[in-house]
Protein backbone atom coordinates (compact mmCIF):
# COMPACT_ATOMS: atom_id res chain seq x y z
CA UNK A 1 0.00 0.00 0.00
CA UNK A 2 2.72 2.44 1.03
CA UNK A 3 4.62 1.43 -2.07
CA UNK A 4 1.70 2.34 -4.26
CA UNK A 5 1.50 5.79 -2.74
CA UNK A 6 5.24 6.17 -3.03
CA UNK A 7 5.24 5.24 -6.69
CA UNK A 8 2.38 7.64 -7.31
CA UNK A 9 4.39 10.41 -5.75
CA UNK A 10 7.43 9.46 -7.76
CA UNK A 11 5.37 9.42 -10.93
CA UNK A 12 3.97 12.83 -10.14
CA UNK A 13 7.40 14.32 -9.58
CA UNK A 14 8.69 12.71 -12.78
CA UNK A 15 5.81 14.11 -14.78
CA UNK A 16 6.40 17.56 -13.39
CA UNK A 17 10.11 17.34 -14.10
CA UNK A 18 9.44 16.19 -17.64
CA UNK A 19 7.08 19.09 -18.10
CA UNK A 20 9.92 21.41 -17.17
CA UNK A 21 12.27 19.74 -19.63
CA UNK A 22 9.61 20.03 -22.31
CA UNK A 23 9.22 23.74 -21.58
CA UNK A 24 12.94 24.25 -22.02
CA UNK A 25 12.80 22.23 -25.23
CA UNK A 26 9.93 24.44 -26.40
CA UNK A 27 12.09 27.51 -25.88
CA UNK A 28 14.96 25.86 -27.81
CA UNK A 29 12.67 25.06 -30.72
CA UNK A 30 11.31 28.60 -30.87
CA UNK A 31 14.75 30.18 -30.81
CA UNK A 32 16.03 27.76 -33.48
CA UNK A 33 13.17 28.51 -35.83
CA UNK A 34 14.78 30.97 -38.23
CA UNK A 35 15.83 28.15 -40.53
CA UNK A 36 12.26 26.85 -40.71
CA UNK A 37 11.14 30.09 -42.30
CA UNK A 38 14.20 31.13 -44.24
CA UNK A 39 14.29 27.73 -45.90
CA UNK A 40 10.57 27.33 -46.04
CA UNK A 41 10.86 24.30 -48.30
CA UNK A 42 11.78 22.29 -45.21
CA UNK A 43 8.57 23.30 -43.49
CA UNK A 44 6.53 22.76 -46.64
CA UNK A 45 7.77 19.19 -46.80
CA UNK A 46 6.66 18.62 -43.23
CA UNK A 47 3.28 20.27 -43.84
CA UNK A 48 2.83 17.70 -46.58
CA UNK A 49 3.52 14.79 -44.27
CA UNK A 50 1.58 16.14 -41.31
CA UNK A 51 -1.26 18.08 -42.90
CA UNK A 52 -1.92 16.77 -46.38
CA UNK A 53 -1.64 13.16 -45.31
CA UNK A 54 -4.20 13.79 -42.56
CA UNK A 55 -6.72 15.31 -44.95
CA UNK A 56 -8.61 12.11 -45.66
CA UNK A 57 -9.13 11.08 -42.07
CA UNK A 58 -10.06 14.60 -40.99
CA UNK A 59 -12.54 15.28 -43.74
CA UNK A 60 -14.24 11.90 -43.62
CA UNK A 61 -14.48 12.04 -39.84
CA UNK A 62 -15.85 15.56 -40.03
CA UNK A 63 -18.51 14.49 -42.48
CA UNK A 64 -19.59 11.57 -40.30
CA UNK A 65 -19.59 13.61 -37.10
CA UNK A 66 -21.70 16.28 -38.73
CA UNK A 67 -24.19 13.75 -40.01
CA UNK A 68 -24.47 12.08 -36.61
CA UNK A 69 -24.97 15.44 -34.94
CA UNK A 70 -27.73 16.15 -37.40
CA UNK A 71 -29.49 12.87 -36.76
CA UNK A 72 -29.14 12.96 -33.00
CA UNK A 73 -30.09 16.60 -32.79
CA UNK A 74 -33.11 16.13 -34.96
CA UNK A 75 -34.53 13.45 -32.73
CA UNK A 76 -34.44 15.64 -29.64
CA UNK A 77 -35.31 18.95 -31.28
CA UNK A 78 -38.35 17.40 -32.87
CA UNK A 79 -39.94 17.08 -29.43
CA UNK A 80 -39.94 20.85 -29.06
CA UNK A 81 -40.97 21.55 -32.62
CA UNK A 82 -37.59 23.09 -33.25
CA UNK A 83 -36.23 20.85 -36.05
CA UNK A 84 -35.36 23.87 -38.13
CA UNK A 85 -32.71 24.88 -35.63
CA UNK A 86 -30.84 21.67 -36.35
CA UNK A 87 -28.38 23.61 -38.49
CA UNK A 88 -27.68 25.89 -35.55
CA UNK A 89 -27.01 22.90 -33.34
CA UNK A 90 -24.63 21.29 -35.79
CA UNK A 91 -22.80 24.49 -36.67
CA UNK A 92 -22.29 25.72 -33.13
CA UNK A 93 -21.22 22.34 -31.78
CA UNK A 94 -18.70 21.93 -34.55
CA UNK A 95 -17.28 25.41 -34.81
CA UNK A 96 -16.93 25.99 -31.09
CA UNK A 97 -15.94 22.58 -29.79
CA UNK A 98 -15.98 19.46 -31.89
CA UNK A 99 -14.09 20.91 -34.83
CA UNK A 100 -10.99 21.97 -32.92
CA UNK A 101 -11.05 19.18 -30.34
CA UNK A 102 -11.84 16.12 -32.44
CA UNK A 103 -9.55 17.14 -35.26
CA UNK A 104 -6.83 17.77 -32.68
CA UNK A 105 -7.26 14.27 -31.27
CA UNK A 106 -7.18 12.77 -34.76
CA UNK A 107 -4.16 14.85 -35.70
CA UNK A 108 -2.33 13.76 -32.56
CA UNK A 109 -2.97 10.11 -33.31
CA UNK A 110 -2.06 10.27 -36.97
CA UNK A 111 0.50 12.99 -37.48
CA UNK A 112 1.74 13.37 -33.93
CA UNK A 113 2.65 9.72 -33.53
CA UNK A 114 4.28 9.72 -36.97
CA UNK A 115 6.46 12.68 -36.05
CA UNK A 116 7.47 11.06 -32.76
CA UNK A 117 8.32 7.79 -34.46
CA UNK A 118 10.33 9.53 -37.16
CA UNK A 119 12.41 11.64 -34.80
CA UNK A 120 12.79 8.76 -32.37
CA UNK A 121 14.05 6.49 -35.11
CA UNK A 122 16.49 9.13 -36.30
CA UNK A 123 17.79 9.29 -32.76
CA UNK A 124 18.02 5.50 -32.49
CA UNK A 125 20.03 5.21 -35.72
CA UNK A 126 22.36 8.03 -34.62
CA UNK A 127 21.28 10.28 -37.49
CA UNK A 128 20.75 13.19 -35.10
CA UNK A 129 24.21 12.67 -33.61
CA UNK A 130 25.71 12.51 -37.10
CA UNK A 131 24.02 15.78 -37.99
CA UNK A 132 25.33 17.32 -34.80
CA UNK A 133 28.86 16.15 -35.65
CA UNK A 134 28.49 17.77 -39.08
CA UNK A 135 27.97 21.08 -37.28
CA UNK A 136 24.28 21.28 -38.17
CA UNK A 137 21.91 21.87 -35.30
CA UNK A 138 19.43 18.97 -35.43
CA UNK A 139 16.78 20.98 -33.59
CA UNK A 140 16.85 23.69 -36.22
CA UNK A 141 16.97 21.28 -39.16
CA UNK A 142 14.77 18.39 -38.03
CA UNK A 143 12.59 19.44 -35.10
CA UNK A 144 11.59 23.06 -35.76
CA UNK A 145 10.17 22.52 -39.28
CA UNK A 146 8.00 19.68 -37.96
CA UNK A 147 6.81 21.85 -35.10
CA UNK A 148 5.79 24.73 -37.34
CA UNK A 149 4.18 22.37 -39.82
CA UNK A 150 1.92 21.13 -37.03
CA UNK A 151 1.05 24.63 -35.88
CA UNK A 152 0.16 25.69 -39.43
CA UNK A 153 -1.77 22.55 -40.33
CA UNK A 154 -3.90 22.28 -37.22
CA UNK A 155 -6.23 25.29 -37.70
CA UNK A 156 -6.67 24.47 -41.37
CA UNK A 157 -7.60 20.90 -40.55
CA UNK A 158 -10.00 22.03 -37.83
CA UNK A 159 -11.72 24.40 -40.24
CA UNK A 160 -12.01 21.64 -42.83
CA UNK A 161 -13.44 19.31 -40.20
CA UNK A 162 -16.09 21.86 -39.21
CA UNK A 163 -16.93 22.69 -42.80
CA UNK A 164 -17.36 19.04 -43.74
CA UNK A 165 -19.42 18.51 -40.60
CA UNK A 166 -21.78 21.33 -41.46
CA UNK A 167 -22.09 19.92 -44.92
CA UNK A 168 -22.89 16.54 -43.37
CA UNK A 169 -25.54 18.15 -41.21
CA UNK A 170 -26.94 19.86 -44.29
CA UNK A 171 -27.13 16.57 -46.14
CA UNK A 172 -28.94 14.91 -43.26
CA UNK A 173 -31.24 17.86 -42.66
CA UNK A 174 -32.22 18.85 -46.13
CA UNK A 175 -31.88 15.62 -48.04
CA UNK A 176 -33.05 13.14 -45.44
CA UNK A 177 -35.30 15.06 -43.08
CA UNK A 178 -36.60 17.60 -45.59
CA UNK A 179 -35.77 20.81 -43.76
CA UNK A 180 -36.00 23.84 -45.99
CA UNK A 181 -32.43 24.72 -47.09
CA UNK A 182 -33.04 28.46 -46.88
CA UNK A 183 -34.28 28.17 -43.32
CA UNK A 184 -31.34 25.91 -42.49
CA UNK A 185 -28.75 28.44 -43.58
CA UNK A 186 -30.50 31.55 -42.34
CA UNK A 187 -31.04 30.12 -38.87
CA UNK A 188 -27.42 29.08 -38.81
CA UNK A 189 -26.12 32.44 -39.94
CA UNK A 190 -28.19 34.23 -37.34
CA UNK A 191 -26.87 32.07 -34.52
CA UNK A 192 -23.20 31.70 -35.36
CA UNK A 193 -21.22 34.81 -34.50
CA UNK A 194 -17.89 35.28 -36.23
CA UNK A 195 -16.02 36.79 -33.36
CA UNK A 196 -17.41 34.66 -30.62
CA UNK A 197 -17.72 31.29 -32.30
CA UNK A 198 -15.59 31.01 -35.42
CA UNK A 199 -12.67 33.06 -34.14
CA UNK A 200 -12.65 31.32 -30.78
CA UNK A 201 -12.62 27.95 -32.49
CA UNK A 202 -9.73 29.14 -34.63
CA UNK A 203 -7.77 30.28 -31.60
CA UNK A 204 -8.42 26.95 -29.91
CA UNK A 205 -7.13 25.00 -32.87
CA UNK A 206 -3.92 27.04 -32.97
CA UNK A 207 -3.31 26.42 -29.26
CA UNK A 208 -3.97 22.71 -29.75
CA UNK A 209 -1.61 22.68 -32.71
CA UNK A 210 1.18 24.16 -30.64
CA UNK A 211 0.59 21.72 -27.80
CA UNK A 212 0.46 18.62 -29.98
CA UNK A 213 3.47 19.62 -32.07
CA UNK A 214 5.69 20.31 -29.11
CA UNK A 215 4.67 17.10 -27.36
CA UNK A 216 5.22 15.02 -30.50
CA UNK A 217 8.63 16.48 -31.29
CA UNK A 218 9.79 16.36 -27.69
CA UNK A 219 8.82 12.73 -27.14
CA UNK A 220 10.62 11.78 -30.32
CA UNK A 221 13.72 13.73 -29.40
CA UNK A 222 13.72 12.35 -25.88
CA UNK A 223 12.94 8.75 -26.77
CA UNK A 224 15.28 5.96 -25.73
CA UNK A 225 17.24 4.92 -28.80
CA UNK A 226 15.79 1.41 -28.96
CA UNK A 227 12.77 -0.16 -30.60
CA UNK A 228 10.82 -0.31 -27.34
CA UNK A 229 11.86 3.22 -26.53
CA UNK A 230 10.42 4.56 -29.77
CA UNK A 231 7.22 2.61 -29.33
CA UNK A 232 6.80 3.90 -25.78
CA UNK A 233 7.45 7.43 -26.93
CA UNK A 234 4.80 7.14 -29.63
CA UNK A 235 2.24 5.94 -27.11
CA UNK A 236 3.18 8.77 -24.76
CA UNK A 237 2.67 11.30 -27.53
CA UNK A 238 -0.86 10.18 -28.25
CA UNK A 239 -1.90 9.91 -24.61
CA UNK A 240 -0.26 13.13 -23.45
CA UNK A 241 -1.56 15.06 -26.46
CA UNK A 242 -5.10 13.84 -25.91
CA UNK A 243 -5.11 14.75 -22.22
CA UNK A 244 -3.46 18.11 -22.85
CA UNK A 245 -5.90 19.01 -25.61
CA UNK A 246 -8.89 18.21 -23.44
CA UNK A 247 -7.46 20.12 -20.50
CA UNK A 248 -6.65 23.14 -22.66
CA UNK A 249 -10.13 22.95 -24.13
CA UNK A 250 -11.61 23.22 -20.65
CA UNK A 251 -9.40 26.16 -19.77
CA UNK A 252 -10.01 28.00 -23.04
CA UNK A 253 -13.76 27.43 -23.00
CA UNK A 254 -14.06 28.73 -19.46
CA UNK A 255 -11.91 31.69 -20.38
CA UNK A 256 -13.88 32.47 -23.52
CA UNK A 257 -17.30 32.05 -21.96
CA UNK A 258 -16.70 34.96 -19.65
CA UNK A 259 -16.95 37.33 -22.54
CA UNK A 260 -20.69 36.82 -23.10
CA UNK A 261 -22.91 39.88 -23.45
Amino acid sequence: MINAVRSLGRRGIETLWRGGVMARFFWLVITSSTMSFRRFSLTIREIYFAGVMSLVIIMVSGLFVGMVLGLQGFETLQKYGAEETMGVLVALSLVRELGPVVSALLFASRAGSAITAEIGLMKATEQLKAMDMMAIDPIARVVAPRFWAGVISMPLLAALFSAMGIFGGYVVGVALIDIDPGVFWSNMQAAVDFRYDVLNGFVKSIVFGIAISIIATFEGFDAEPTAEGVSRATTRTVVTSALTVLLLDLVLTAFMLRGVH
Binding site: M122, T125, A130, M133, M134, A135, I136
Partner: protein
Protein backbone atom coordinates in the same frame (compact mmCIF):
# COMPACT_ATOMS: atom_id res chain seq x y z
CA UNK B 1 35.85 29.91 -58.90
CA UNK B 2 37.51 27.63 -56.42
CA UNK B 3 39.87 25.10 -57.89
CA UNK B 4 38.28 21.72 -57.76
CA UNK B 5 40.52 19.09 -56.34
CA UNK B 6 40.84 15.82 -58.16
CA UNK B 7 41.10 12.55 -56.36
CA UNK B 8 42.03 9.55 -58.43
CA UNK B 9 40.48 6.66 -56.63
CA UNK B 10 41.62 3.87 -58.88
CA UNK B 11 45.32 4.40 -58.47
CA UNK B 12 47.15 3.78 -55.26
CA UNK B 13 49.50 6.63 -55.90
CA UNK B 14 49.53 9.37 -53.33
CA UNK B 15 48.59 12.77 -54.64
CA UNK B 16 50.74 15.65 -53.63
CA UNK B 17 49.50 17.74 -50.77
CA UNK B 18 49.74 21.03 -52.58
CA UNK B 19 46.17 20.93 -53.88
CA UNK B 20 43.90 23.79 -52.80
CA UNK B 21 41.80 22.64 -49.93
CA UNK B 22 38.70 24.42 -48.81
CA UNK B 23 40.14 24.32 -45.32
CA UNK B 24 43.90 24.67 -45.58
CA UNK B 25 46.04 22.35 -43.49
CA UNK B 26 49.29 23.22 -41.88
CA UNK B 27 51.44 20.41 -43.19
CA UNK B 28 54.72 21.53 -41.77
CA UNK B 29 53.45 21.76 -38.20
CA UNK B 30 54.97 18.97 -36.21
CA UNK B 31 52.77 19.23 -33.15
CA UNK B 32 50.26 16.44 -32.83
CA UNK B 33 46.86 17.15 -34.32
CA UNK B 34 45.08 15.56 -31.40
CA UNK B 35 46.46 15.48 -27.91
CA UNK B 36 44.58 13.89 -25.05
CA UNK B 37 46.09 14.74 -21.72
CA UNK B 38 45.17 12.78 -18.58
CA UNK B 39 41.44 12.73 -19.29
CA UNK B 40 38.85 11.34 -16.91
CA UNK B 41 35.27 10.69 -17.88
CA UNK B 42 32.34 8.99 -16.22
CA UNK B 43 28.75 8.24 -17.29
CA UNK B 44 26.95 9.27 -14.15
CA UNK B 45 28.63 7.20 -11.44
CA UNK B 46 30.31 4.71 -13.79
CA UNK B 47 33.88 5.75 -14.54
CA UNK B 48 34.82 5.00 -18.14
CA UNK B 49 38.15 6.73 -18.67
CA UNK B 50 40.64 7.04 -15.86
CA UNK B 51 43.57 9.16 -16.85
CA UNK B 52 43.99 8.58 -20.59
CA UNK B 53 46.84 10.30 -22.43
CA UNK B 54 47.56 9.86 -26.10
CA UNK B 55 48.85 11.77 -29.10
CA UNK B 56 47.89 11.58 -32.75
CA UNK B 57 50.50 12.91 -35.16
CA UNK B 58 49.41 14.76 -38.28
CA UNK B 59 49.03 12.77 -41.44
CA UNK B 60 48.99 9.43 -39.64
CA UNK B 61 46.38 6.75 -39.27
CA UNK B 62 46.09 5.77 -35.63
CA UNK B 63 44.07 2.88 -34.24
CA UNK B 64 42.56 2.80 -30.78
CA UNK B 65 41.89 -0.77 -29.81
CA UNK B 66 40.41 -2.54 -26.89
CA UNK B 67 37.64 -4.84 -25.79
CA UNK B 68 33.98 -3.90 -25.99
CA UNK B 69 32.85 -1.25 -23.56
CA UNK B 70 36.32 -0.02 -22.69
CA UNK B 71 35.64 3.57 -23.64
CA UNK B 72 36.93 3.78 -27.21
CA UNK B 73 33.77 5.33 -28.62
CA UNK B 74 33.63 7.68 -25.66
CA UNK B 75 37.07 8.93 -26.68
CA UNK B 76 35.80 9.83 -30.12
CA UNK B 77 32.84 11.62 -28.63
CA UNK B 78 35.17 13.59 -26.38
CA UNK B 79 37.38 14.60 -29.29
CA UNK B 80 34.32 15.68 -31.27
CA UNK B 81 33.06 17.72 -28.38
CA UNK B 82 29.83 15.80 -27.93
CA UNK B 83 30.92 14.95 -24.40
CA UNK B 84 32.89 16.98 -21.90
CA UNK B 85 35.69 15.46 -19.87
CA UNK B 86 35.48 15.85 -16.12
CA UNK B 87 39.21 16.23 -15.88
CA UNK B 88 42.11 16.75 -18.25
CA UNK B 89 42.55 18.46 -21.60
CA UNK B 90 41.69 17.50 -25.15
CA UNK B 91 43.57 19.56 -27.73
CA UNK B 92 42.60 19.46 -31.38
CA UNK B 93 44.72 21.54 -33.75
CA UNK B 94 45.94 23.61 -30.86
CA UNK B 95 42.51 24.35 -29.37
CA UNK B 96 41.18 22.98 -26.11
CA UNK B 97 37.89 21.33 -27.12
CA UNK B 98 36.47 21.54 -23.62
CA UNK B 99 36.59 25.35 -23.56
CA UNK B 100 34.93 26.05 -26.90
CA UNK B 101 31.53 27.73 -27.07
CA UNK B 102 28.78 26.55 -29.40
CA UNK B 103 29.86 28.57 -32.44
CA UNK B 104 33.54 27.71 -32.06
CA UNK B 105 32.60 24.08 -31.54
CA UNK B 106 30.63 24.02 -34.75
CA UNK B 107 33.51 25.72 -36.58
CA UNK B 108 35.82 23.03 -35.23
CA UNK B 109 33.44 20.25 -36.26
CA UNK B 110 33.42 21.49 -39.83
CA UNK B 111 37.05 20.43 -40.00
CA UNK B 112 36.23 16.95 -38.76
CA UNK B 113 34.49 14.05 -40.38
CA UNK B 114 33.02 11.14 -38.45
CA UNK B 115 31.95 7.73 -39.62
CA UNK B 116 29.40 6.23 -37.24
CA UNK B 117 29.23 2.56 -36.48
CA UNK B 118 26.27 1.71 -38.69
CA UNK B 119 26.64 4.56 -41.11
CA UNK B 120 23.92 6.80 -39.68
CA UNK B 121 22.91 7.85 -43.16
CA UNK B 122 19.84 10.07 -43.38
CA UNK B 123 17.17 7.62 -44.37
CA UNK B 124 14.81 10.13 -45.91
CA UNK B 125 17.21 11.23 -48.65
CA UNK B 126 19.13 9.54 -51.46
CA UNK B 127 22.79 8.57 -51.31
CA UNK B 128 23.61 11.61 -53.42
CA UNK B 129 21.77 13.98 -51.08
CA UNK B 130 23.44 12.39 -48.08
CA UNK B 131 26.91 13.11 -49.39
CA UNK B 132 25.84 16.54 -50.64
CA UNK B 133 24.34 17.43 -47.28
CA UNK B 134 27.32 19.17 -45.73
CA UNK B 135 28.24 20.83 -49.00
CA UNK B 136 24.78 22.31 -49.30
CA UNK B 137 24.54 23.37 -45.67
CA UNK B 138 27.99 24.78 -45.11
CA UNK B 139 29.09 26.15 -48.47
CA UNK B 140 27.64 28.43 -51.09
CA UNK B 141 28.83 26.30 -53.97
CA UNK B 142 26.54 26.14 -57.00
CA UNK B 143 24.64 22.94 -57.63
CA UNK B 144 26.67 21.77 -60.61
CA UNK B 145 29.86 22.06 -58.62
CA UNK B 146 28.30 20.19 -55.72
CA UNK B 147 27.24 17.52 -58.17
CA UNK B 148 30.80 17.07 -59.36
CA UNK B 149 32.20 16.94 -55.85
CA UNK B 150 29.62 14.43 -54.66
CA UNK B 151 30.22 12.14 -57.60
CA UNK B 152 33.96 12.36 -56.98
CA UNK B 153 33.58 11.36 -53.35
CA UNK B 154 31.29 8.50 -54.27
CA UNK B 155 33.73 7.39 -56.92
CA UNK B 156 36.48 7.35 -54.30
CA UNK B 157 34.57 4.73 -52.35
CA UNK B 158 33.48 2.95 -55.51
CA UNK B 159 29.76 3.69 -55.20
CA UNK B 160 29.15 6.33 -57.84
CA UNK B 161 26.51 4.06 -59.41
CA UNK B 162 24.33 4.11 -56.27
CA UNK B 163 23.82 7.85 -56.23
CA UNK B 164 20.07 7.62 -56.74
CA UNK B 165 19.49 4.84 -54.21
CA UNK B 166 18.01 5.29 -50.77
CA UNK B 167 19.98 4.04 -47.76
CA UNK B 168 17.41 1.34 -47.13
CA UNK B 169 18.28 -0.16 -50.49
CA UNK B 170 21.98 -0.60 -49.68
CA UNK B 171 23.76 -3.46 -47.99
CA UNK B 172 25.55 -2.85 -44.69
CA UNK B 173 28.95 -2.58 -46.27
CA UNK B 174 27.77 -0.25 -48.99
CA UNK B 175 25.96 1.96 -46.49
CA UNK B 176 29.12 2.28 -44.50
CA UNK B 177 31.13 3.25 -47.56
CA UNK B 178 28.57 5.90 -48.47
CA UNK B 179 28.84 7.20 -44.93
CA UNK B 180 32.59 7.35 -45.47
CA UNK B 181 32.11 9.42 -48.60
CA UNK B 182 29.79 11.68 -46.62
CA UNK B 183 32.30 12.03 -43.80
CA UNK B 184 35.01 13.31 -46.16
CA UNK B 185 32.69 15.57 -48.18
CA UNK B 186 34.31 18.73 -46.89
CA UNK B 187 37.90 17.37 -47.03
CA UNK B 188 38.27 17.42 -43.25
CA UNK B 189 41.62 17.49 -41.52
CA UNK B 190 40.59 14.83 -38.99
CA UNK B 191 38.54 11.78 -39.85
CA UNK B 192 37.25 9.56 -37.08
CA UNK B 193 35.99 6.03 -37.65
CA UNK B 194 33.81 4.28 -35.07
CA UNK B 195 34.14 0.51 -35.59
CA UNK B 196 34.30 0.69 -39.38
CA UNK B 197 34.98 -3.03 -39.74
CA UNK B 198 32.25 -4.35 -37.50
CA UNK B 199 30.01 -6.91 -39.17
CA UNK B 200 31.49 -6.79 -42.66
CA UNK B 201 32.28 -9.64 -45.01
CA UNK B 202 35.98 -10.22 -45.86
CA UNK B 203 35.83 -8.39 -49.19
CA UNK B 204 34.13 -5.32 -47.74
CA UNK B 205 36.61 -5.43 -44.86
CA UNK B 206 39.54 -5.18 -47.21
CA UNK B 207 37.87 -2.48 -49.30
CA UNK B 208 37.02 -0.31 -46.31
CA UNK B 209 40.48 -0.75 -44.85
CA UNK B 210 42.22 0.27 -48.02
CA UNK B 211 39.85 3.18 -48.57
CA UNK B 212 40.62 4.53 -45.12
CA UNK B 213 44.34 4.46 -45.87
CA UNK B 214 44.07 5.91 -49.36
CA UNK B 215 41.69 8.67 -48.34
CA UNK B 216 43.92 9.66 -45.47
CA UNK B 217 47.00 9.94 -47.65
CA UNK B 218 45.27 11.59 -50.59
CA UNK B 219 43.54 14.19 -48.44
CA UNK B 220 46.61 14.73 -46.33
CA UNK B 221 44.36 14.22 -43.33
CA UNK B 222 44.75 12.47 -40.02
CA UNK B 223 42.62 9.45 -39.15
CA UNK B 224 41.65 7.84 -35.89
CA UNK B 225 40.19 4.36 -36.18
CA UNK B 226 38.41 2.89 -33.20
CA UNK B 227 38.13 -0.84 -33.67
CA UNK B 228 38.80 -4.26 -32.26
CA UNK B 229 39.70 -5.82 -35.57
CA UNK B 230 43.35 -6.59 -35.18
CA UNK B 231 44.16 -8.15 -38.53
CA UNK B 232 42.76 -5.38 -40.66
CA UNK B 233 44.10 -2.55 -38.51
CA UNK B 234 47.63 -3.84 -38.43
CA UNK B 235 47.71 -3.68 -42.21
CA UNK B 236 46.73 -0.05 -42.59
CA UNK B 237 47.64 1.97 -39.50
CA UNK B 238 50.84 3.76 -38.53
CA UNK B 239 50.39 3.53 -34.75
CA UNK B 240 48.18 1.70 -32.27
CA UNK B 241 46.91 2.40 -28.78
CA UNK B 242 45.45 -0.27 -26.53
CA UNK B 243 42.82 0.70 -24.01
CA UNK B 244 41.69 -1.47 -21.14
CA UNK B 245 39.54 -0.49 -18.18
CA UNK B 246 39.84 3.18 -18.93
CA UNK B 247 43.62 3.31 -19.28
CA UNK B 248 46.20 3.01 -22.02
CA UNK B 249 47.86 -0.36 -21.52
CA UNK B 250 50.03 -0.43 -24.61
CA UNK B 251 51.06 1.45 -27.71
CA UNK B 252 53.39 1.20 -30.64
CA UNK B 253 53.80 0.71 -34.35
CA UNK B 254 52.38 -2.48 -35.89
CA UNK B 255 55.80 -4.14 -35.85
CA UNK B 256 56.40 -3.24 -32.21
CA UNK B 257 52.98 -4.59 -31.30
CA UNK B 258 53.52 -7.87 -33.10
CA UNK B 259 56.75 -8.38 -31.24
CA UNK B 260 55.39 -7.27 -27.88
CA UNK B 261 55.41 -9.67 -24.97
CA UNK B 262 53.17 -7.56 -22.77
CA UNK B 263 50.41 -9.92 -21.60
CA UNK B 264 47.41 -7.75 -22.51
CA UNK B 265 48.67 -6.95 -25.96
CA UNK B 266 49.70 -10.52 -26.52
CA UNK B 267 46.27 -11.81 -25.58
CA UNK B 268 44.58 -9.29 -27.86
CA UNK B 269 46.82 -9.68 -30.86
CA UNK B 270 46.93 -13.46 -30.73
CA UNK B 271 43.25 -13.72 -29.88
CA UNK B 272 43.66 -15.78 -26.74
CA UNK B 273 40.50 -16.52 -24.83
CA UNK B 274 41.89 -15.89 -21.37
CA UNK B 275 44.62 -13.65 -20.05
CA UNK B 276 44.67 -10.17 -18.52
CA UNK B 277 41.21 -9.65 -19.97
CA UNK B 278 39.37 -12.44 -18.19
CA UNK B 279 37.02 -14.82 -19.94
CA UNK B 280 34.63 -14.99 -17.01
CA UNK B 281 32.57 -12.02 -15.91
CA UNK B 282 33.03 -11.77 -12.10
CA UNK B 283 30.57 -14.13 -10.34
CA UNK B 284 30.35 -16.43 -7.34
CA UNK B 285 32.10 -19.73 -7.49
CA UNK B 286 30.63 -22.18 -9.97
CA UNK B 287 30.04 -24.80 -7.29
CA UNK B 288 28.05 -22.41 -5.14
CA UNK B 289 25.89 -21.35 -8.10
CA UNK B 290 25.01 -24.96 -8.90
CA UNK B 291 24.42 -25.71 -5.25
CA UNK B 292 27.05 -28.43 -5.09
CA UNK B 293 29.45 -29.23 -2.31
CA UNK B 294 32.74 -30.39 -3.72
CA UNK B 295 34.50 -33.41 -2.21
CA UNK B 296 37.62 -32.63 -0.23
CA UNK B 297 40.63 -31.97 -2.37
CA UNK B 298 38.76 -30.87 -5.47
CA UNK B 299 39.34 -27.34 -6.93
Amino acid sequence: MRTAYWFNATSLSHRSNTANHIFPLNQTNSTPLVEIDDVNFAYGKRPILKGISLKVQRGKVVAIMGGSGCGKTTLLRLIGGQLRASQGRIMVDGQDVGTLDADAMYAMRRKMGMLFQFGALFTDMTVFDNVAFQLREHTDLPEDMIRDLVLMKLDAVGLRGTAKFFPSELSGGMARRVALARAVALDPMLIMYDEPFAGLDPISLAVVGQTIRRLNDALGATSIVVTHDVVESMQIVDYLYFVSEGRIVGQGTPDEIRASTEPFIKQFVHAEADGPTPFHYPAKSYADDLGLTLPKGAA
